[in-house]
């Protein structure tokens, strides 16, 4: 538009201000509605085009080619519609990588699996990884760059940032989470080099500060500690939950449970001693468990070091074949003691290894954050780039992060969500999900994975590397270029090597170098560990408060993920809420009962939240899980639970003494999926000791009288396959990964707190949890319960329209189209595994969620029954392949979703007609039993009984 244009349509046009020019040049005014649609049809087509282009189909695009490589021995030359492809990548959690294989249907990622080649996964994935796909498609992710609440563009942001960073001496601060990514670290290094006054701080609310401080105390430098549980015959856990927290959790679960598989005459089994304060999955697996206050753990560690007590004797009897692990919640001195004990026992080099740190600038995060906040308060920070994370929500309460943030002149936030932190930053840039962009990340042992995108960013999100490139004046530099460039310089020069590394999901030879520890163990100055200066003050008599990440929504980053919100917590079976956990005795002393709201105070701070009485909790301890109480998480996460970060200070990081509890007289309503905790003397989870098994291997069968067998109806002939499943209760840790895997595979809807409250959760596989024995020191059993696919299924004959029927391969099939919804089948199911769509639970409107669904599984409408199908779509896919190749389906070719993801490999599935199949072999074990067989249902799903291995002396 020329200024001499004689015609004008408005005064604005006449004035020809830059604002008007901008308005004129834009097709839509700012804030036009199109952007707010999660994914419009037009966007969808664009995305599809982009992702097909990524997959190598060559659409018309000016984008440089960034090839991704499907995970297959013989990758197809083109996409075959209906045939999914898998791509290796990795999820970052707490900075560390977890190797994944992601299923992609025509360019849409739909399902997460573990990467069998990845050392931190070995084919398994946990509930977070499984649920990450829902986060990617979350319609409430932030979708636009915004400036002071107004929609802006990436280019505008880059220009504004460049202007702020005009001087090389600008006081720039970068705040990230824990970083292991070599590329990101190199980009940050570039920034720090360009701006000498810049500083980089890492902060993660669940970090490994204590672990690194512990090794620092023991060895004088931070190193990474790696355990080999597969070689340990005796394991002592000092308040650690190594099976469900930490970067090595999946691998450790696999290794640990491998030593608990009792098959036939092979009766070797490890023994686990646990001292912990609040029930954990590790504690539930323990052969001996002590419920102690966190402050008492140090004493136990000292006794172990001194060789006192039965535990120490058992350790000494297994010197070199044992391991002592201290938890991240324990102070550094306990870690140092654990290293000293391992050294004394000669475990180092056998079951414990040390490597160079995997994280960049390991440890000291809380101190670094405190320093940063000090600078911010003093107004010394001019530009703050918050790369991921949500410090306004999760920084220690005593630091007053928000106050300090407001004093920073120019602040920008990169995040998946427009959250509590972005609210207070002038600029917010939507982050690309890890499934949308290139990146790299290292696993617990240092092995690097190159993350490849499965789809173009749904909302134009930027990776951390791209975000920081803007600070270098390179806002257009794509993540692919940076990752490729980094690895070109670090061992993947050739295109072939790069392809192999991307394809495999692991970069060969990147495991962290072992830190030579020759005789270092003996050098641990145990004397240094004993001075009283290092000792905590003697445990006071007051209440101790324990602050822990939530088992299902983590530190709050998963708060807007419905799958994780509705996933019952392993011990309380709570959904959608957090609570203050109290032991039965403490609750009785305080006169408190479950669901009573209390005011929990510590150090002058207080929050109000409901009580939950949990057997196994240590007396005089109250555990609260942080991550709840989000204000700006999204529609799913807002209003759920109570924010207890307000109690967390940098001093009381994991726990504090001197907490107070005061009843408020109010009552909260909590949505729990299991209201009854005991087995009522029924043989549901059959448990014995190793000794019992050795005496009488068939002891399990003697527990319940054998069923009479037979049926009024003729037996089904199974000429082909007869599918069956066996679940090893001895290996199952109760981690819940199977529940989310099933939810993802089978398009299972989320129903919300209101519906859970009336008992309508939809999970096809659930993990039942029972307490047994003394409520103060209970035994805890987890039992996954999918459909049993009974031979004499009680559900089948009662359906008046034959909507549930027996297949020729013994599957108890549900035909949704035929179901009229009498619910008789569910009533008549003794296992109560059937789930009914009481309302329209499946979200049929949100476009982005449609992309996420498994196209091979029907999305159910209201009024129909559903239940576990043994992943019949996977059986059918395998059968089609086998038929085309004119052969039988091979053992192991059909892997159900729950089985695939199980970190403990506790689930096996296959053909019972094949006597050599793994499932037949498991079923032939003496420990095999069927749940409620006395009803003559003849279940296809059976269990291997749980064994415990208590020491004879105790």
């Amino acid at each position: 538009m020329s200024p001499v244009n004689p015609q004008w349509r408005s005064l604005e046009e006449r004035a020809d201000t830059p604002q008007f020019r901008q308005l004129f040049e834009r097709e839509f005014p700012e804030g036009a509605t199109e952007w707010f649609d999660p994914v419009s049809r037009r966007d969808f087509l664009r995305l599809m085009g982009a992702s097909l282009a990524l997959a190598g189909l060559g659409a018309c695009t000016r984008q440089p080619e960034e090839k991704i490589y499907p995970y297959a021995a013989h990758p197809p030359e083109q996409i075959v519609p209906g045939k999914p492809l898998f791509y290796a990548t990795a999820m970052e959690d707490g900075g560390y990588g977890f190797g994944l294989l992601v299923e992609s249907h025509e360019g849409r990622p739909t399902k997460i699996e573990g990467n069998p080649q990845h050392p931190g996964s070995l084919g398994a994935a946990d509930h977070f990884a499984q649920a990450s796909i829902l986060t990617m498609y979350d319609p409430e992710r932030s979708q636009v760059v915004s400036n002071a609440g107004q929609i802006s563009t990436w280019e505008n942001f880059a220009a504004a940032l460049a202007w702020q960073l005009a001087s090389p001496n600008v006081a720039l601060r970068i705040l990230t989470g824990t970083v292991t990514s070599p590329t990101l670290a190199s980009v940050i290094a570039e920034v720090l080099q360009k701006f000498p006054a810049a500083r980089w701080v890492q902060y993660e609310p669940v970090n490994q500060d204590n672990i690194y401080a512990g090794v620092q105390l023991a060895f004088g430098r931070p190193v990474e500690t790696i355990y080999r549980f597969d070689r340990a015959e005796v394991v002592v856990s000092l308040d650690t939950d190594f099976l469900s927290t930490g970067p090595g959790r999946l691998r450790y679960t696999r290794d640990f449970t491998a030593n608990r598989r009792v098959r036939g005459a092979a009766v070797k089994m490890n023994r686990l001693y646990v001292a912990e304060s609040t029930p954990s999955l590790t504690g539930a697996m323990a052969d001996h468990r002590l419920a102690v206050r966190p402050s008492e753990v140090e004493k136990i560690a000292r006794q172990l070091l001194a060789g006192e007590g039965v535990w120490a004797k058992d350790l000494q009897a297994h010197a070199g074949r044992s391991v002592v692990v201290a938890g991240e919640w324990q102070p550094p001195v306990v870690h140092a003691l654990a290293h000293a004990i391992n050294a004394k026992l000669g475990n180092i080099g056998q079951t414990v290894f040390y490597t160079e740190p995997v994280t960049v600038n390991a440890g000291g995060q809380v101190a670094a954050l405190r320093e940063l906040v000090g600078e911010m308060q003093a107004g010394k920070v001019e530009v703050l780039l918050i790369v991921g994370g949500n410090p306004v929500f999760d920084a220690p309460a005593d630091l007053n992060f928000l106050d300090a943030l407001k004093k920073v002149k120019w602040r920008a936030h990169l995040g998946l969500y427009d959250d509590e932190t972005s609210e207070w930053c002038q600029w917010h840039v939507p982050a690309a999900h890890f499934l949308e962009t290139w990146g790299d990340v290292r696993a617990f042992d240092g092995t690097a994975t190159i993350q490849q995108p499965l789809i173009a960013p749904l909302y134009g999100g930027k990776s951390a590397t791209e975000f920081l490139s803007a600070a270098l004046g390179l806002p257009g530099r794509p993540a692919h270029e940076m990752v490729r460039a980094h690895w070109k310089a670090h061992g993947l020069e050739s295109e072939a090597a790069w392809q192999v590394a991307v394809h495999d999901g692991v970069v060969p030879g990147t495991a962290a170098k072992e830190w030579s520890i020759e005789n270092r163990g003996s050098r641990i100055d145990t004397a240094k560990l004993s001075p009283p200066s290092l000792l905590q003050p003697p445990a006071s008599t007051g209440l101790e408060i324990l602050l822990r990440p939530d088992p299902t929504i983590g530190d709050g980053r998963w708060a807007n993920n419905g799958w994780l919100q509705e996933l019952p917590k392993p011990f309380t079976r709570l959904t959608w809420d957090n609570a203050a956990l109290l032991s039965p005795r403490t609750a009785e002393q305080l006169g408190l009962r479950t669901e009573q709201v209390v005011e929990l105070g510590v150090d002058g701070r207080a929050v109000q939240l409901p009580v939950w009485v949990l057997p196994g909790q240590a007396d005089d301890c109250v555990t609260v899980h942080f991550g709840y109480g989000r204000r700006r998480a999204g529609r799913v996460g807002n209003q759920a639970g109570v924010d207890v970060f307000r109690l967390r200070t940098s001093a009381a990081w994991w726990q504090a003494t001197g907490a107070t509890l005061r009843a408020t007289g109010r009552k909260a309503v909590l949505a729990c999926t299991q209201h009854h905790q005991l087995m009522e003397g029924r043989e549901l989870v059959r448990v014995g000791t190793l000794e019992e098994y050795q005496r009488d291997p068939e002891f399990v069968k003697h527990r319940v009288p054998e069923p009479p067998g037979g049926s009024l109806y003729p037996p089904h002939p199974y000429e082909g396959a007869a599918w069956g499943m066996v679940i090893d209760l001895n290996a199952c840790t109760g981690c819940n990964a199977c529940v989310v895997a099933c939810q993802s595979e089978n398009n299972i809807p989320v129903v919300g707190k209101d519906q859970v409250l009336v008992g309508r959760e939809m999970h096809w596989i659930r993990v039942d949890r029972y307490f047994a024995g003394d409520p103060a020191a209970p035994l805890v059993y987890h039992q996954p319960v999918p459909c049993m696919h009974c031979e004499n299924a009680p559900c089948e004959p009662v359906c008046p329209v034959a909507a549930t029927s027996h297949s020729a391969e013994g599957l108890n099939e549900m035909t949704y189209n035929r179901c009229v919804g009498t619910r008789y089948c569910a009533n008549n199911c003794p296992y109560k595994v059937r789930r009914f769509n009481f309302l329209q639970y499946a979200d049929q409107r949100t476009e982005s969620l449609k992309l996420m669904r498994n196209p091979n599984v029907t999305v159910r409408m209201r009024g129909v029954m559903e239940k576990c199908t043994y992943c019949v779509q996977r059986i059918n896919a395998a059968r089609i392949t086998a038929k085309k190749e004119n052969r039988q389906v091979r053992d192991g070719e059909v892997v159900t979703a729950c089985q695939a993801t199980c970190p403990a490999q506790a689930i096996i599935f296959g053909d019972l007609n094949d006597p050599l199949s793994n499932v037949s072999r498991w079923r032939a074990e003496k420990l095999n039993y069927g749940l409620l067989v006395e009803l003559n249902t003849a279940p296809r799903t059976t269990y291997l009984a749980k064994l415990r291995n208590p020491a004879t002396e105790i």
Binding site: P797, R818, C819, T822, R823, A826, N827, Y831, R835, L839
Partner: protein
């Protein structure tokens, strides 16, 4: 005062003409009273509550009710079984007592049959609306279809479809056939042309010839014979819904006879609940006499005892079976979260009806009315206990839950009572509620012992 069984079935002084006049006048001459309008208004309002509840149910889904994962059936099935049970008295009175030549049935049979039909109508709604997708409920019917699908003949719900629909058909037929001579009487006595035509069409050209009477009586007797086994079968089949399952508290062989006895128990209770006010309002004390009330009270007492025996056997078998699940079920009923309704059921169905042993109580009409209502409540509670307490805690304690009815559960239940009363008010208004021609047979002039 004479003993009830010596009391007349019709008060002295009536002739053919007075009987006909009195009953026909209620329909033809009495007109619409204020009381009727008020009653109909209340009933029809309640019926609209049902319509509203069902509309919302179809719009929103079954989730508006309190049912959930362990307790898949709630008020809908409770109400279904309750209404079907109530619907037993009519056919029992008409058919079985006809075959047994119990003449005292005459003055109450028309009324009881109508009640049966209306109760079965109410019952019939619930299986239809309680399914998740009511728009395909017709798939339960065996009809040739493009899916080449038969229903599942092993399912007790399918047996229900046959049992209840057969029962409803035969009851309706029996009732209508019984009405024909009276419809002709109304036709003949009506003064308004339109009314004459309507009754005339419904009377199917009845002239009262000997041939008509001969054929009529044969047909009526045959229908009575046909209806008799249905009285037994329908509630036996309904009880199979529970007895055929594997759930403790349902899986019981005692259910068929115990359900039939319970049905008759509640059916007679409902006949009493309705008869007592109506005979008073319409001045029918001459036709529905103390003897009728006394007899019905006795039937209630007897069937109530059978039901009590059923409860006892349920508990005995739970103990005798040695099954921990069955034993827990009884223990849970007695001491669990539904102990109060269970105690209420024992009180209403077993303890209180024992006062009927006393003749003085049986002849105390207000007291009888109260007891009949108590029994109705008790029988409703029985169905609630059977359906809900068996489901809410079955085999795996991990899956135990609770059932709390919602406002929509109650609205649907209240609405079904509205439907029942609406139909009843219409019936009283437009049809002779006592069989005129059969009452005429009871007039002393016709009776052998009174023949001159």
């Amino acid at each position: 005062m004479t003993e009830p069984h010596h009391m007349p079935l019709i008060e002295p002084g009536h002739t053919h003409a007075t009987v006909t006049d009195k009953i026909a006048a209620i329909v033809l001459e009495r007109g619409v009273s204020k009381g009727w309008i008020l009653g109909f208004f209340v009933a029809f309002s309640l019926f609209n509550v049902l319509a509203l509840s069902v509309a919302y149910l179809v719009y929103k889904g079954l989730g508006i009710w309190g049912i959930n994962n362990p307790v898949g059936w709630g008020f809908a099935i409770v109400n279904f079984v309750w209404w079907v049970g109530i619907g037993h008295a009519g056919t029992l009175i008409s058919a079985i007592l006809l075959l047994l030549r119990q003449e005292w049935r005459t003055s109450i049979n028309r009324f009881a049959e109508a009640m049966t039909l209306f109760a079965v109508s109410c019952a019939g709604i619930f299986p239809l609306i309680h399914v998740g997708r009511p728009w395909v409920a017709y798939w339960l019917l065996p009809y040739p279809n493009t899916m080449s699908m038969w229903p599942q003949f092993r399912s007790p719900l399918l047996w229900d479809v046959f049992a209840v629909s057969t029962y409803a058909t035969v009851s309706a037929l029996f009732w209508y056939v019984g009405l024909i001579p009276d419809l002709a009487t109304l036709r003949d006595r009506a003064k308004n042309r339109l009314v004459q035509i309507v009754y005339g069409v419904m009377a199917l050209g009845w002239t009262g010839s000997a041939k008509h009477w001969f054929r009529y009586e044969t047909a009526y007797l045959l229908l009575a014979g046909l209806a008799t086994p249905l009285v037994i079968s329908v509630h036996s089949v309904v009880s199979f819904d529970f007895a055929v399952s594997v759930i403790p508290g349902w899986h019981t062989t005692v259910f068929p006879p115990y359900f039939v006895a319970g049905a008759i128990f509640s059916g007679f209770a409902m006949v009493l609940t309705l008869t007592i006010p109506i005979r008073k309002i319409y001045g029918l004390e001459d036709f529905i006499t103390m003897r009728h009330l006394d007899n019905m009270a006795k039937v209630m007492l007897a069937t109530g005892l059978i039901v009590g025996y059923g409860y006892l056997m349920e508990a005995f078998m739970a103990w005798y079976s040695g099954s921990p699940y069955e034993q827990f079920m009884i223990w849970n009923r007695l001491t669990g979260p539904y102990a109060v309704p269970y105690a209420g059921l024992l009180l209403c169905n077993i303890v209180i009806p024992q006062v009927l042993w006393s003749g003085r109580v049986r002849r105390n009409i207000p007291l009888l009315f109260v007891i009949s209502i108590i029994v109705n409540i008790g029988m409703w509670l029985e169905r609630f206990i059977i359906v809900v307490t068996s489901l809410h805690r079955d085999y795996l304690p991990s899956s135990w839950g609770m059932y709390y009815p919602t406002i929509w559960d109650w609205a649907t239940f209240a609405g079904s009572i509205g439907l029942f009363l609406t139909l009843l008010f219409l019936f009283i208004r437009v049809l002779p509620m006592i069989s005129i021609f059969e009452m005429r047979l009871l007039v002393p002039a016709n009776r052998k012992e009174n023949a001159p």
